[in-house]
Symmetry: C2
Subunit: 382 residues, 2 copies
Amino acid sequence: MKLNENPFELLKKSAKSKARLGVIHTAHGDVTTPVFMPVGTAATVKGLTSRDIREIDAEIILANTYHLYLRPGTKLIAEAGGVQKFMSWNKPMLTDSGGFQVWSLKQFRKITEEGVQFKSLLDGSRHLFTPASVMNAQREIGADIIMAFDECTPYPSTVEEAEKSLALTLKWTREAKEWLLANPPIHGYPQFFFGIVQGGMHKELRQKSIEALKEIEPDGYAMGGLSVGEPVETMYEIADFCTNLLPEDRARYVMGVGTPWNLLELVKRGVDMCDCILPAKNAQDGLVYTSRGVLRYKGAKFAHQHDLPLDPNCDCYCCRNYSRAYLRHLFKEKEPLGWTLAAIHNLHFYIHLMKDVKSNIADDTFEEWADEQVKMLQENAG
Amino acid sequence: MKLNENPFELLKKSAKSKARLGVIHTAHGDVTTPVFMPVGTAATVKGLTSRDIREIDAEIILANTYHLYLRPGTKLIAEAGGVQKFMSWNKPMLTDSGGFQVWSLKQFRKITEEGVQFKSLLDGSRHLFTPASVMNAQREIGADIIMAFDECTPYPSTVEEAEKSLALTLKWTREAKEWLLANPPIHGYPQFFFGIVQGGMHKELRQKSIEALKEIEPDGYAMGGLSVGEPVETMYEIADFCTNLLPEDRARYVMGVGTPWNLLELVKRGVDMCDCILPAKNAQDGLVYTSRGVLRYKGAKFAHQHDLPLDPNCDCYCCRNYSRAYLRHLFKEKEPLGWTLAAIHNLHFYIHLMKDVKSNIADDTFEEWADEQVKMLQENAG
């Protein structure tokens, strides 16, 4: 039984690759794909106001169920009328299920058939995540797209290990779907439920995962367990393999990936949605992406570049107003404004790269353009 | 010999107190007084973009010579074309001389007739500030208003101690003025030089200080050595005493003070300019000023106030868009966005309080209004 009408509309398929144009219709607005989703872990895209996020043309942002569950608590967000109202972002949102976060706790969690017991690193308190409890949390948070509770398969894993892990993810996904069917949204608009393809780097398991998920009938499909230590070519290959099997009329989301060139390679392989903390994290570490390649703006030589913005071809708020010399000064002083400005630039860069992706697919020039970009973006822009 | 034409224009004197309206004309625009100046220590008002600073209607901001001298270096700021260009703030600025900062270093500085030797807390390197070197630094930074190099008189001080300290400040002020006469601005616009009245809490020394400063003929007058531990009534009394003696046609600036009610009391006593780190610092510590009094927004009860902004009577960006519940969440999460939003609110509050001061002086209602405000603003708004 379907949870919702399919929110995804396929608008165009490239003739020369699996790249495609689409749109996801949500109660908070349309999301045009391929899309990059900035991460707003604790209901805040670090250092950016809602206006900043709108101005970089973000169409959808992501929040983390794990973090919101611990603080401020998902009941409190329900009380606010959902996370969009809570954080003053009246546009589409997606929450992950917390599966990856509790899995990452390693020695502080215990995985059983029922779910994941874990200890909060904030105060040592004990918690249990089950498919039902996590779906309830996501109902309370109220994002437009919500994710299945899954177990991330470590890399490397044997077929046996990956198969056992996959079985658990599928069991939990079925339980989550059933719970959602029995417990409709509480904020008055649909929440689209995405299943997560697992199976490690074993193609036969990825295939098995997809076949089983199709029977569960989620509203969309994510590919999890990628970019967890495997060679980048393997990541591309697995994503490519999965999109061959996934239903064409459904949205496809690769979770937690990656660099600008990763995004282009994934789009070429038929991926519609990506998210990653990289642009914000790298900004804070002194690395920005530009139209001419990677720029480590904390370098001494940038101290005197008073007339150059981070990227002369960029029209983000940071590049329109501030010099490399000033950004470097803020970085050296550990001034939060520096992190905010560099994050604005990097997120703007990612989102506008995806805009360029869309216009190139529309113009049937995507593949040649993307190949050039993949090279250029990895160069040293300094 | 005068350095510059007097930049201050007295527009109105209240009939019922010493409160007054004025304007300071600078190359980067006019500053209407009484004015509150946000502090941008390291050429950044912590966490605020230039747009944020413009939107709170700041007319002038302050930077610190001491900090800019150490990092990124005042030569580098000269190279950028001055601090306004460096930080993308094309409006009036003021720099303090660093006198207070090096004095505050206590065991890491040595004061002689020549100046102050000090050790940088950043890297242990040794430096010497003299009246000439500090004026040179301020020429390089290029603020519209620059301050004399002074020695802050500690509280409490005996008459003998305060007199000795005052003599040093006056000697340095004369040397600074002479250096400035011999070394004109390098950025092509005037920099108005303010002398600093010292003398501790001893009125006879404050008087002596003012008489000596008048002979030196600075472009404006600051009162230093206030709010250094003395009772608030003493601070008011000394400021009141000084403004009785200061030339009426010159701007009067009380440095480093204070709370919103301090500002109202000082305006009543004839003060035109104030600066303070309090609004930004308190925002970060979870305390905001509102039209109904002081609000400690980190309190547990605010977790559920989803429909109330920090101040329902405020139209700053923070209050127009975010709830107390969200601000508290950001505070608990130590999210930089929380500090930025609360700082925007507090600085907006200070600046708009001073706008209300101006309209009340214009309407001859200042004194009654201010007395009411002084009471109300100190109440608990929670």
